[in-house]
């Protein structure tokens, strides 16, 4: 994936650049708002990672400029502010996701990869398939190896989100955000328990597990 990182903190930027490259992505870096704006307008990126507060031109303006010119490159907004209202502002300006600082790199990576994927055609697919696990988005029917699985509505949504991002790490906060639509950070392992319930339904009676725990990051569905 080609990623444009617009971040004025040199140390954070160097770390991110290195880590993104190690994860197999191409990362270009702009150290201020004006440079970032120019690079973003030049286009050719799969994802933009934009710090909110930047010298010369703030991150939200860069994104709204892009959106005004019809460019829909997905953008992840990084911010030290990180409260409810700031998130709303960030998304209103055209940002696709919002990550408060400080963040774990795994969280950022998971979100960047999800955003990069969004442009790919399976976004609007009518059904998802991972190995022998099938999810029909019209009938809400889930089968594994032809066997029908009975899921609670929330378990269905959990699985749907995981399958939509199949092969990709999905973090706990991403699940809370997309499945429950809350953005806080629960202190107890609430998400883990839901995952283990889902796992008991889709993996328990089958030989090869499809729902994997990625240590220190989150979960992934993979055949």
């Amino acid at each position: 994936m080609r990623i444009l990182l617009i971040e004025d903190d040199r140390e954070a930027a160097d770390y991110l650049k290195k880590a993104l490259k190690e994860s197999g992505h191409v990362c270009e870096h702009a150290a201020d708002g004006a440079e970032g704006d120019t690079l973003a307008k030049a286009g050719g990126y799969d994802v933009l990672v934009v710090d909110r507060m930047l010298p010369k031109l703030d991150g939200l303006s860069i994104i709204s400029n892009l959106r005004a010119s019809g460019d829909q490159t997905p953008a992840l907004v990084l911010s030290a502010l990180g409260e409810v209202d700031d998130r709303v502002k960030g998304l209103r300006a055209g940002g696709d996701d919002y990550l408060p600082k400080p963040y774990a790199f795994t969280e950022l990576l998971a979100r960047v990869e999800t955003l990069g994927r969004r442009r790919q055609p399976e976004e609007g697919a009518m059904s998802y398939e991972v190995g022998d696990l099938k999810l029909d988005r019209l009938s809400h029917e889930v089968t594994r190896a032809g066997q029908k699985l009975l899921l609670q509505p929330r378990e269905y949504r959990l699985l749907e989100y995981l399958m939509k991002n199949a092969g990709q790490v999905v973090t706990r906060t991403m699940l809370l955000e997309h499945v429950w639509d809350y953005h806080f950070d629960p202190m107890t392992n609430v998400i883990d328990v839901h995952i283990s319930r889902l796992r008991s339904k889709i993996d328990k009676d089958f030989e090869t597990p499809v729902l994997h725990t990625v240590r220190g990051a989150g979960y992934m569905i993979k055949a």
Partner: protein
Amino acid sequence: MIVDGENRGFRQRLRMLMRMTAFRLTLIFFFVFLVFSVALVTVSLFTVTTVLHREARSVINEELVVLRRTFKRGGVRGLVRAVDQRSRAPGASLYLVVDQQGRVFAGNVQRLPTKVLERDRWIHKPFKYELLAGMPRARPPLRRNGSNPSDRPEFDREELDQSSPRAAIARVVFLENGLTLLVGRDFGQPSRFRSIVLGTLIFTVLSLAVIALVSWYFLGRRALRRIEKVSKASQRIVAGDLAQRLPETGTGDEFDRLSSALNSMLEKIENLDGGIKDMADSVAHDLKTPLTRLRNRAEAALVPKEGLTSEAYREALEDTISQSDQLIRIFNALLMISRVEAGSQAGSLEPVDMKMIVEDIGELYEAVTEESGATFDVSIQPNVSDWTMNGNRELLGQAVSNLIENALKYGGKSSVDDDGNVTNLTSISLLLRRRGAHIHLVVEDNGPGIPAEDRDRVKRRFVRLEKSRTKPGSGLGLSMVNAVSKLHGGRLVLEDNKPGLRAYMELPSS
């Protein structure tokens, strides 16, 4: 040089004086009063003159009527006799009877402008004249009856000043046989009139200046001294003494009201400042502790030890990361609480469905509570159809989740059976109910509860009860719930659940 310096000092003082509101106000009043009094004096003098003229004319007219009649009856001889008689009477008018050649037949006027006698007419404009020596003086029109001469020496002096010419108005009548009759009234000395006007004006200006000085004293030295006190007190407050209060005299006037308004503002600022100081103290304490722990672990991992595997390093690093995550959590919670308390999110309140929030959060936590062996029960008061209120869904959801996590952490109750098996008997219920105009979002547990005397204290930041110190937590959960309740115009109530704690957010439903 010295003169110059003194001059500058004076100018500086003058500029300072001009800057004083009282002085400026006094000066303005002074000039306004001055203009009005000059106008008033002028108008009244004009009026007095007009009245005097009118009176003089009517006296002249009456005399003329009598004298004409006398002339008609007694001819020239009768007229001369009558004029002579009148001329000698005290307070006499002016009389003159002359023929065409200018010979004086009778009268008390020694000299007057010849122009006066040229035509049969009124002479309204006072002309100068001289009386015949020994003739009684005409009563001056402006003299006050019965006034003691020593009271107004200048009047008497002028009256005695025979050399200065006097003025009069008169009527000149041409009689049938070529005689000219003049009857006039004395109008005093023109210079004296001018000096009266001038005197009145000087008196007005002087008394106004005195009034201005006095009012400056009261306004500038007394009222503004209070403002000066206020600004002095403010300076002390700015210098850091927030306990300072502005003086209040208790009269309830504008200054007092201003002072008391500023004082209540100061009260609030002092409270906020105290809050910030408390917060800084607790931040220092409650963030330093985990920071120290974090540092210690990293340090311990660096100490060379026999058989330290890379796995151990990994564990130490993971540990430091989870410690710093905990710190970040505390920091985020603190930030959120202060922002919620500052009300900066109040603008983002919009209609939310409380039932949905309770169901969603209930469903989110149901799994984890059951997994831990506790019973968890979500109930929503039946026969209430509308659960919408103005709120912030995110904050309310987080507040409910805080209450549930608290119940999970501290509301626990477990029993150990004979075989040493631990059974979790915790029972948590989340319920939504309506009480009048309020919506109650209740979380109950059957744990040890919070002693009545601590129930207010635990709403404050970082306050953790002794019993809970051993468990993980930041002591920010309830203060966050409290702040969210207040943001929505409600409150957080902590009650005895007998046994356990009942915590509920009482929120106005509209």
